[in-house]
Amino acid sequence: MLRKAFYRFFRANETKVHELNYLFWECTTRCNLHCRHCGSDCMAASADKDMPLEDFLRALDTIPVKERPRVFTVVLTGGEPLLRPDIAEVGRAIRQRGLFWSMVSNGWFYDEAMHRKLMAAGMGALTISLDGLGDNHDWMRGRAGAFERTERAIALAAKEPRLNFDVVSCINRRSITQLDALYDKLVSLGVKQWRIFTIIPIGRAKEDPEMHLTDAEFVRLMDFIQAKREAAAAVKEGPRPMNVTFSCEGYLGRYEQKVRQNPFFCRAGVNIASVLIDGRICGCPNIDRDVFSQGNIYQDSLWEVWQHRFEPFRRHDWARRGRCADCPVWRDCLGNGMHNWHGDCSEVINCHYAKTL
């Protein structure tokens, strides 16, 4: 009880301070894959052109040097960031400002030459997505050969000691049957960190029943992660087992701190902002941008927007509606992750807590 009270106090204080630690840049919405769960309906030929590097840098430079916390990362995301021919130049420009950067990729283009190029440009962290084994990954990603290419990329990145690297997996009704095999595969590739998440019912995934775990399957996933974490904690000597964790995508009730290190805290708009492909400024890129965007770098100063807007991200009172209105865990959940509110926001579209009851 005391622990919960402390964490609520900590979270409230962090929200008040709202230090910007994590800035996504949606640097392209082009993508070479056609993922079934894509929230942004990315495609090879996007309606939006890649944002010019200089436009993003102009926004980044609105953050005064003295206000930049020591812990600050620019996360390149897409689309597929490696489709930008200037990706290394992007990284260099960020690094030359004394800042750190990282990237989320599907791994298709991540070969040895690319790896060396990005490391030389100062990449500090990398996440590669793997959503299943063999054909299951290809099915999810909409392209034959994706698994083979991703597996190669993972093996390459996992060997790099200077890179903080993890693999993310979007678990669906097909891959839930492959959890142990996926674990073994990642261990064999040398992966140290595996982060698991589930699929939000938006974009292409909304009407696809194979994307969404049943409540029983969700509990099975939680039990799997908990068991792996407990087994890893029991190892006191020798190499550390792979760290398996559930993403901070929602409040998990009885599984809180059993499937990830810290209690649930949606930091979108509290510590996390994004510059979207058209210049809009929002929390995380998977949040409903038509509802929650707070400004646009082509009209506003990114820093001013961060300092003075983002009210719906920092005060969640508005979310106390629908099934959240009289929820017994409101004080710990605060309406779940911001990406679970879309459209008219009359109801949260995903309640992780309810799945665990």
Binding site: R92, R95, C284
Partner: protein, 69 residues
């Protein structure tokens, strides 16, 4: 309260509270100043570039080969 934020961050027992990653983001970089500053040229390639490189894809691209159901 910034002072409290800084105090908690400095305490080893609570420092882990500040380590986070966005659900669809990356882990934090190591924040070590000796990470390449990007002022070194990329090393000479030791492997042949692959046929399907990003440079080979046009900006307004063609249909993809999708997997069979």
């Amino acid at each position: 309260m910034k002072w409290l934020h800084n105090l908690l961050k400095g305490l080893s027992l609570t420092a882990c509270l500040f380590v986070f990653q966005a659900c669809y983001g990356t882990p934090e970089p190591p924040y070590e100043p000796d990470i390449d500053m990007g002022d070194n040229p990329a090393p000479v390639l030791v492997t042949e570039p692959q046929a399907d490189t990003p440079e080979a894809l046009p900006e307004t691209a063609a249909p993809l080969t999708e997997t069979e159901e």
